[in-house]
C-alpha cells in the first residue's frame, strides 16, 4: 500500500512538472476566424471521373526538401499538404485550413493557432501540435541536406510552442504586418508518427516514400518514369468545409510523363489528355486550330488574372566596367525594341512588363513605365557618355574598347527574342553577344555574378522583396540574389525601413518610393509579362461561371486553389461518338475579363 502511495505521489509531482513545462496561453488573446469567405466553386459540380494531365519529366524524388527536391512536381505534393491558414484566392482574406482560429501576440511577431480537432493525416492519425514542432525539427536537421531550409527555419522562425495538443504559437524573428505573419510564419505540419526520428540516411530513405498528407488527394500509384496517380480520399476530414464543397471533383488525377510538349499536344488531340495550357503564342495560334476546334470538341478559354508577375527581364551587372555608367544602362534600355518582339513573334499576346514588382496591388508603383525603344535618346546618351566614335561595323568605341556586351540566357526557345533585340541595338551602336547556356549553368553564372547581362525571370512572392535583390549587403558577392550588384545608400535605407515597418500603409509608401529608385538605377530592363492564363480542354470538362480565381496561374489545376472543374461522363460519351461520325457542336472560345487589370 505504501508503495502505491509513493507511486501516486511521484506521478502527481511528475504531472505537475509536465504541466509546469507546458507554457500557459496568454489570457488576453482575441481569437479570430473566418466563416464568411465566399466559395469559388459551383453547386452544379459533379463528383467522379479521372482527370488526366501530363508532366514533362518524372520527378527525381518525392521528398519536398533536400537534394533534387526542387522539381516542378513538388507543387503537386505541396498542394495536398495543407497549412494552418490560407489566403482566399480572390479577396486575399485569411481563411482557415488546419487551424480554425488564430490570434496575434502583442510582440507583433507571434501568431497563435487552434488546430482543427478533426484534422487527420491520410493514414487516419490525428494532426497535433507535435507535428508542427516536428516540422521545425526536420527543417533544422543537418540530415535533410538543405542549407537554405536549415537557415530559414533556424533564423527566420525562432520558436514553436505547444500549449496543448491543439493549440500552438509560432514566433518569427521580426515583427511583420498581420497577413504576412501568416504567410511567412505559418507552418505546414509534418507527420511525426511517420518519420519517427531523423537519421543521416533520411535523404536516401525517403526518396520514394509516399508521406501521409492532409489534403484532398494522396498519391496512390507510382510507375517510375511513366506515371503518377493521385486518388481522392474517401472521407477527407475537410470535405464538408464550405470552401471545399463542390471542389476536388475528379476521383483520380493521373499525371503521365510525356517528355516533349509537342508530343503531349498530340496526346491531347487524341483525347488522352483532358486539358492543355496554351500560354505560348505558337501553340495558341498555330497548333490550337483545326477540325477539333471547328467542330466544338475542344473549347478555348482565355482568363485574365491579377496576380504578381514574374520579374522577368535583363539584369545588367553594374560591376561590369561598361555598364557601370548609368547613362549607358539607360541608353541600352532605350535601344531594345521589345515592342517589335511583342508585335511580331509573340503575336501581340504578351505585354511589356513595366517594373520589377508588377501586379502586387498597391505595393506596385503604377506610375513607372518601362523605358521605350527610342534610338535618338539612346544615341544622345551614348554620345554624352563618351562613346562618340563608331567602328567600321557601326559599333561604338571608347578608348579602344568596343561597346560590346554579352547577354546570357538559359532557354533555347527565347533565342529569337534576343536575336531581334540584337538587330535594333546595333543601330544604337551596341553589340549584344548572345550566349545560350544550359539552364543550370546559366543559374550558376548568374549566382557567381560572372554575367554582364543576364536574361532571367524571378518567381513571385507575397509582397515585393527588395533586400535580396537590391540591398548593398548582397552586392558584389557570390550566391546572393542581388545580381545587378546595385549598391546605393539611399536604396539601402529605404529597404531597411521597409523591412522593419509593420504598418502596411507606410510600407506601401516605401515600396512605391523604392520602385522609383530601382527604375532610376536602370540596372533592370523589364521584358515581358503574360496578363492571363489560357488553354483548351475537351468539352466534357465543365467549369463554374467564372472558371478560375483572381490569382490563378492555370485554368486546370486539380489541387490547391483549383479543383473547381468537373468531368461530365455523359458529355464525354457524346463527344467521343460525335467525333466518330463527325457531327458538330457550337464553337466555343471564351474570354473572361472578370479580373482584367485596367492599365491606367
Amino acid at each position: 500500500m505504501k508503495f502505491f502511495k509513493i507511486i501516486s505521489i511521484c506521478s502527481v509531482i511528475f504531472a505537475s512538472m509536465v504541466n509546469a513545462a507546458k507554457p500557459a496561453l496568454p489570457a488576453d488573446l482575441i481569437w479570430e476566424t473566418n466563416n464568411s469567405a465566399k466559395p469559388w466553386s459551383s453547386t452544379e459540380a459533379k463528383a467522379g471521373g479521372t482527370f488526366t494531365d501530363f508532366i514533362l519529366t518524372f520527378p527525381p524524388t518525392l521528398r519536398t526538401v533536400g537534394p533534387d527536391s526542387n522539381s516542378s512536381f513538388r507543387s503537386y505534393i505541396n498542394a495536398n499538404q495543407l497549412g494552418l491558414t490560407h489566403f482566399h484566392p480572390n479577396t486575399m482574406e485569411v481563411i482557415p485550413q488546419i487551424a480554425t482560429h488564430w490570434a496575434y501576440g502583442k510582440d507583433g511577431k507571434t501568431v497563435f493557432y487552434k488546430i482543427d480537432k478533426q484534422a487527420r493525416w491520410s493514414d487516419g492519425v490525428l494532426v497535433t501540435a507535435g507535428d508542427f514542432i516536428f516540422t521545425l525539427d526536420l527543417m533544422r536537421s543537418k540530415h535533410i541536406n538543405a542549407p537554405w531550409y536549415n537557415n530559414h527555419y533556424s533564423n527566420e522562425l525562432t520558436n514553436v510552442t505547444a500549449y496543448n495538443d491543439h493549440t500552438i504559437s509560432i514566433t518569427g524573428r521580426v515583427a511583420k504586418p498581420k497577413d504576412e505573419l501568416h504567410y511567412f510564419y505559418g507552418l505546414t505540419p509534418t507527420p511525426k508518427h511517420f518519420y519517427k526520428n531523423i537519421t543521416k540516411d533520411w535523404v536516401k530513405n525517403y526518396n520514394w516514400e509516399v508521406v501521409p498528407n492532409t489534403g484532398p488527394y494522396q498519391i496512390s500509384e507510382i510507375k517510375k518514369g511513366k506515371r503518377i496517380t493521385f486518388r481522392k480520399k474517401e472521407n477527407w476530414w475537410a470535405a464538408d468545409r464550405p470552401l471545399n464543397k463542390y471542389r476536388f471533383n475528379a476521383d483520380k488525377v493521373v499525371l503521365n510523363v510525356i517528355r516533349d510538349v509537342n508530343m503531349a499536344y498530340k496526346y491531347f488531340e487524341k483525347g488522352e489528355l483532358d486539358t492543355f495550357s496554351l500560354i505560348l503564342p505558337e501553340f495558341w495560334h498555330n497548333k490550337a486550330k483545326g477540325f477539333l476546334y471547328d467542330n466544338g470538341y475542344l473549347e478555348k478559354f482565355v482568363f485574365y488574372n491579377d496576380t504578381p508577375r514574374s520579374s522577368s527581364g535583363l539584369f545588367l551587372n553594374t560591376a561590369t566596367p561598361i555598364l557601370k555608367d548609368r547613362n549607358v544602362r539607360i541608353a541600352l534600355a532605350h535601344s531594345l525594341n521589345f515592342d517589335r518582339v511583342i508585335k511580331t513573334i509573340l503575336r501581340g499576346d504578351y505585354e511589356r512588363l513595366d517594373a520589377f514588382h508588377t501586379g502586387y496591388g498597391e505595393f506596385s508603383n503604377a506610375n513607372i513605365k518601362a523605358r521605350d525603344f527610342d534610338l535618338p535618346k539612346s544615341n544622345a546618351l551614348l554620345d554624352g557618355a563618351g562613346w562618340n566614335d563608331r567602328g567600321g561595323d557601326g559599333i561604338r568605341i571608347k578608348d579602344g574598347q568596343r561597346l560590346s556586351v554579352n547577354l546570357v540566357y538559359g532557354r533555347k526557345e527565347h533565342s529569337d527574342r534576343w536575336s531581334i533585340l540584337k538587330q535594333d541595338a546595333l543601330k544604337a551602336g551596341i553589340e549584344l553577344n548572345l550566349k545560350l547556356q544550359d539552364s543550370s549553368s546559366h543559374y550558376k553564372t548568374i549566382m557567381q555574378k560572372q554575367h554582364q547581362i543576364a536574361a532571367l525571370g524571378w518567381s513571385t512572392g507575397f509582397r515585393p522583396a527588395y533586400w535580396q535583390h537590391f540591398h548593398s549587403e548582397n552586392a558584389n558577392k557570390p550566391q546572393t540574389n542581388n545580381i545587378t550588384n546595385i549598391n546605393n545608400k539611399d536604396i539601402d535605407d529605404n529597404i531597411t525601413a521597409y523591412r522593419s515597418e509593420t504598418d502596411n500603409n507606410k510600407r506601401i509608401v516605401l515600396a512605391n518610393k523604392l520602385a522609383q529608385q530601382i527604375h532610376d538605377e536602370a540596372a533592370f530592363i523589364p521584358s515581358f509579362m503574360v496578363p492571363y492564363t489560357r488553354g483548351a480542354h475537351w468539352r466534357w470538362i465543365k467549369f463554374p461561371d467564372v472558371p478560375a480565381n483572381k490569382t490563378s496561374n492555370s485554368l486546370y489545376s486539380p489541387f490547391g486553389d483549383g479543383g473547381v472543374f468537373w468531368i461530365d461522363p455523359v458529355i464525354e460519351i457524346d463527344t467521343k461518338a460525335a467525333r466518330k461520325n463527325n457531327s458538330k457542336y457550337p464553337v466555343i472560345e471564351r474570354t473572361f475579363k472578370n479580373y482584367l487589370v485596367k492599365t491606367p
Binding site: N262, N286, T344, I345, G392, D393, G394, S415, D416, Q423
Partner: protein
C-alpha cells in the same frame, strides 16, 4: 600539278565513274558559290550609284545612313533607299543580290506573323523561319559554315591522326601499346555528350567547337594509318631507304605516307559527312554555334518543332540530304577508283 602515273590512272577511273564525278563538280561549285555568299544573299546591294559616287557595300565596313542623306549613323536601310530611288525621290540606282536578305535579319511583313510561306513576291523563295529570317539565305550561309567547319575539322583530325598513327606503326613496341590503350579509352567517350557538357558551361564559338570535336575524333584514322605503316615498314623500299641512311622522319613522311595515301583519300568524303552531321546535330540540340548564327541544325530543329510550317523542315532536310548524298557519291567513286584490286603496284 603533275600526277604520278598511278594517280593519273586513279583520277581517270574516278572521272569515268560519272555519278561520283558530277557530284564532285557539283559540290565544288556549291562550295565556291558559298564562298561568295555575300554577293548572292545579303541585304547590302551589290552596287549603288548615288551622286556621282559608286559604292560596293557587299564587303567591308557599313555605310552609315548619313552617306545617302539620312539622319542616322547606323547602317543604311537599303530597302528604303531602293524605294527612294525607284520613286525618284533620290537620284541614283542600286542593284540588290538575287536574295535580298541577310541571314541574320528578321524581316517582318506588316499585318502578318512569321513564319512567312515561300513566295516570289516577298522575295523569300523558301519562306522564312519562326523569327522572320530568310530560309534560303540561312541555308547558303549555313552551308558555308558547315562545309568549312567540316573541312577544317578534317584537316586537324587528319594531321593528328596521320601523324600519331604513322608514329605508332613505325615505332611499334611500348609507344604503340601505350597509344593503343589511350585511343581505346578516348574512343569510348561519347563525343556529343562531352561537347554538350562543355557547351553547357561555356557557349562555344566556331574555333572551340572545331578543336573540341577534333580532340575526340582523331582516333578513327590512327588505326588505319598504323596498320598501313606496319605493312609498308616491312617492305623492301623502306629497308633500302634505311640502308642509305634516311632519317626516321623522312622514311615515315616521304616514303611510307605517300604509299598509304589511298586509305586517307577514301576516308576523306566520309569524314566530311561526319563533320557536317556532327555540327548539325549539335546545333539541332542547341549546343552548337551561338544564336543567331545561320545553321542547318537550328533550322531543322525549328522545322520539327513546327511541322505545320512544312517549308522549314522541307528546306532543311532537302539541303542536308542533297549535300550528304553528293558527298557520299563522291566517296563511293573514290573508293572504287582507289580499289587496290584493280590498280595496285607491288614492286
Amino acid at each position: 600539278m603533275i600526277f604520278s602515273p598511278q594517280a593519273k590512272k586513279r583520277w581517270d577511273k574516278f572521272k569515268a565513274l560519272r555519278r561520283g564525278y558530277y557530284s564532285f563538280i557539283a559540290i565544288i561549285i556549291l562550295i565556291t558559290l558559298s564562298l561568295f555568299a555575300e554577293l548572292i544573299a545579303s541585304n547590302r546591294p551589290l552596287i549603288i550609284q548615288y551622286n556621282d559616287n559608286i559604292y560596293f557595300p557587299s564587303y567591308g565596313d557599313i555605310i552609315p545612313g548619313t552617306a545617302f542623306g539620312y539622319k542616322y549613323e547606323w547602317e543604311t536601310d537599303y530597302r528604303h533607299l531602293k524605294k527612294q530611288f525607284e520613286q525618284n525621290k533620290l537620284d541614283g540606282w542600286l542593284l540588290m543580290p538575287v536574295i535580298a536578305f541577310n541571314p541574320l535579319e528578321s524581316h517582318f511583313i506588316e499585318g502578318e506573323y512569321p513564319p512567312y510561306a515561300p513566295s516570289i513576291d516577298s522575295g523569300h523563295f523558301l519562306g522564312t523561319d519562326m523569327a522572320g529570317r530568310d530560309i534560303l539565305s540561312r541555308i547558303i550561309y549555313g552551308f558555308r559554315i558547315a562545309i568549312l567547319f567540316s573541312l577544317l575539322l578534317l584537316v586537324v583530325t587528319y594531321i593528328i591522326g596521320v601523324f600519331l598513327g604513322a608514329l605508332m606503326g613505325y615505332m611499334g613496341g611500348k609507344f604503340d601499346m601505350a597509344f593503343q590503350r589511350l585511343i581505346e579509352v578516348l574512343s569510348n567517350i561519347p563525343i556529343l555528350y562531352v561537347i554538350m557538357i562543355v557547351a553547357s558551361i561555356v557557349t562555344p564559338d566556331f574555333w572551340t567547337l572545331v578543336l573540341l570535336l577534333a580532340a575526340f575524333s582523331w582516333m578513327g584514322l590512327t588505326w588505319y594509318m598504323r596498320t598501313e605503316t606496319y605493312r609498308e615498314n616491312s617492305r623492301e623500299y623502306v629497308m633500302a631507304a634505311r640502308a642509305i641512311g634516311a632519317s626516321h622522319f623522312r622514311i615515315m613522311f616521304k616514303h611510307i605516307l605517300p604509299n598509304s595515301v589511298s586509305i586517307l583519300v577514301t576516308f576523306f568524303p566520309f569524314s566530311v559527312v561526319s563533320g557536317i552531321t556532327a555540327l548539325t546535330s549539335l546545333d539541332y540540340l542547341g549546343f552548337g554555334l551561338p544564336a543567331p548564327t545561320p545553321s542547318w541544325g537550328e533550322l531543322l530543329q525549328q522545322g520539327t518543332a513546327n511541322l505545320e510550317y512544312q517549308w522549314i523542315a522541307i528546306s532543311a532536310v532537302a539541303a542536308l540530304s542533297l549535300v550528304l548524298t553528293l558527298v557520299t557519291f563522291i566517296g563511293e567513286a573514290i573508293r572504287e577508283a582507289f580499289d587496290p584490286k584493280k590498280y595496285s603496284y607491288y614492286e
